[in-house]
Structure formats: structure tokens, C-alpha cells
């Protein structure tokens, strides 16, 4: 029967405790969870009957829940849902082939957890605020031209200038939020990734990796920064297993 892989775990001094934890859990479709290990790296797997199993949202959530329980006890690399190999022998060979890369990634996330932060705005309100400021700037920037106040050309230039200024102001504003966050994140020795202007509403989509014991400090820091930007809504989720900080493609 095929094997579904849940996570890659550091097996150094951990195997006995890991096996004890897995003995208390059940994998997808009620199959037993077990360990395939080579030296200091192990994969947590279970049997998987693809022909008799409909993979769906509920199963994906259950799978993530199992990874989360494991992550509460051990440093691990979560494996993307639906990763199946044909046998334990093949899993063992895969672990051996990728041993050093797995070890490096495990060291990177050792005793750390991930948080996600989405920062949302009301785009209409924020643009209206900025537009009023921009129009004032543009009026002061443009001297009266010989072509007259109402020329089509002048209107077009003003419109383009306004759009350009709005875009610049929005980027500057988003950068100011990121700068404020970065100060706190650096203080907490956090690894972070920011995506800017993901949608008109989601101006920042960020993920953080930090020591587990610093999670309360992170939450407090985000709350403080949220108060500095009253027009924005901060959605902080976590702690998660380090899904966004695993940089590994197993061959």
C-alpha cells in the first residue's frame, strides 16, 4: 500500500518520544502513523489507500491538524498535503538522497514557529484621503500655463499626475507600515517575508518565523503597531508549523 507523508522530523534523540506520540494518534482514514528514519532524519507516514479515499477539504484540515500536534512536540518540516510514495523503501532512499538539505532546513526552524499577518484597508477611504492631499500638492506644483486654465491637455496632465502621486503615496504609506513592523521584528530576531499590495484591500501579506517563546512579544508588538495605523485592520494568525519557511524540493 502507498504511504502518505506528513512531516520530516529531526530524529536525533527523539525517536522514542516520537513513536510514543504517534502511538496515541491516528493518521488519515484511521491508519496508524509510523516513522521511517535514516540516521538523524525521519519521515512520519501512514498507509494510504488512494483508490478507496476521496481527498477533500475535510481531509486536508485533518492532515494539517495532525502536523500541528506533531509540531507542538517536535521540530519538523511540514510536507504539502497529498505527498504519497509507493513504499517505505522509496521514502528511505528519498531521505538519504536529501539528507543534508533536510538537516539544514530542520536547523533553520528549530524551536521556531510561524505567524501570518494580513493588513487590510478600505481602499476607497484611503484613496480619498490621499487624493485630497495629492490635489493640493499638484495645484501648488503646476504653474498656470499659456494654454489656458481649461485646456484638455492640462486636464489630462493633471489626471496623470494625480494618479502617479496617488500611487507613490500609497507605496510610501505601505513602506511606512512595513518599516514600523520591521523595527519590532528585528528586535525579536524574526525572519520575515512581506508581499506588498497583494490586492486593493490587502496591502500587506506577511509571514514571520520566530522563537516559540517570543510569540507573546510578537503579538504585543503587532497590537502596538496596529494602534499607530487606525485606518488599517491587522489579521494575525498563528502559531503555525513553519510552512512558509521550508525551502526544499525533495527528489
Amino acid at each position: 500500500m502507498e504511504k502518505l507523508i506528513y512531516s520530516l522530523v529531526s530524529a536525533k534523540n527523539n525517536l522514542e518520544a516520537l513513536n510514543a506520540l504517534l502511538a496515541e494518534m491516528k493518521g488519515i482514514s484511521g491508519f496508524d502513523l509510523f516513522v521511517v528514519a535514516t540516521d538523524e532524519v525521519a519521515a512520519v507516514v501512514s498507509d494510504f489507500d488512494r483508490s478507496g479515499t476521496a481527498t477533500d477539504r475535510t481531509m486536508a484540515i485533518e492532515y494539517a491538524g495532525l502536523i500541528e500536534i506533531m509540531a507542538q512536540h517536535f521540530t519538523l518540516l511540514p510536507v504539502r498535503f497529498g505527498s504519497v510514495m509507493e513504499s517505505t523503501d522509496l521514502i528511505l532512499k528519498m531521505l538519504e538522497r536529501n539528507y543534508h538539505e533536510i538537516q539544514q532546513n530542520l536547523q533553520k526552524v528549530d524551536n521556531k514557529c510561524e505567524f501570518g499577518l494580513k493588513i487590510l484597508c478600505d481602499p476607497e477611504k484611503i484613496m480619498a484621503d490621499m487624493k485630497s492631499k495629492t490635489e493640493a500638492i499638484i495645484k501648488s506644483d503646476i504653474a498656470p500655463s499659456a494654454e489656458g486654465k481649461n485646456s484638455v491637455y492640462r486636464e489630462w496632465v493633471n489626471k496623470k499626475l494625480t494618479e502617479h502621486r496617488l500611487e507613490e503615496m500609497m507605496i510610501t504609506f505601505v513602506d511606512s507600515v512595513i518599516a514600523a513592523l520591521s523595527v519590532s521584528l528585528t528586535r525579536l530576531n524574526t525572519i520575515y517575508k512581506f508581499k506588498k499590495m497583494v490586492t486593493a484591500t490587502t496591502i500587506i501579506d506577511a509571514v514571520f518565523l520566530l522563537d516559540k517563546e517570543k510569540k507573546d512579544a510578537l503579538i504585543q508588538s503587532v497590537e502596538v503597531i496596529e494602534k499607530q495605523f487606525p485606518g488599517l485592520n491587522f489579521l494575525l494568525t498563528g502559531p503555525w508549523p513553519p510552512y512558509n519557511f521550508v525551502e526544499i524540493v525533495l527528489k
Partner: protein, 68 residues
Amino acid sequence: MYDNVIDRSKDITILELLDRVLNKGVILTGDIVISVADVDLVYLGVKLMLSSVETMEQLKAGKGIIEK
């Protein structure tokens, strides 16, 4: 109001969870079989993410920190 916010927050947490477990983490390639009902899951994922944007917009005035 408060209860509604919490419920929506839980929805968003599930969306965040699905995004991670379906799109992030260790990737297996090569002769290994990656086997899920791809179309259903991807479709469901996209649909949920779209609805989550609306939910997030409704949360603008709500509580920002989401407890998992």
C-alpha cells in the same frame, strides 16, 4: 457582534490553514506520486480565498488578532 467576529476569524484561520497545507511546505518531485483530487481542491481553495476577501472586508472594524 463579538461572536460574529470570532466565527469569521475562525473561517479565515481555516482558509489560512488550507492555503498552507495545500500550497506550502516540503514539495516532493521526480518519481514520487503527488496524489490529491487536484481539481476539486484547487477549485475549492480558489473559491474559499475569494470569499475570504469579502469576509476580511467585513472584518475591517473587527478584532484583528485571530486565536487559532
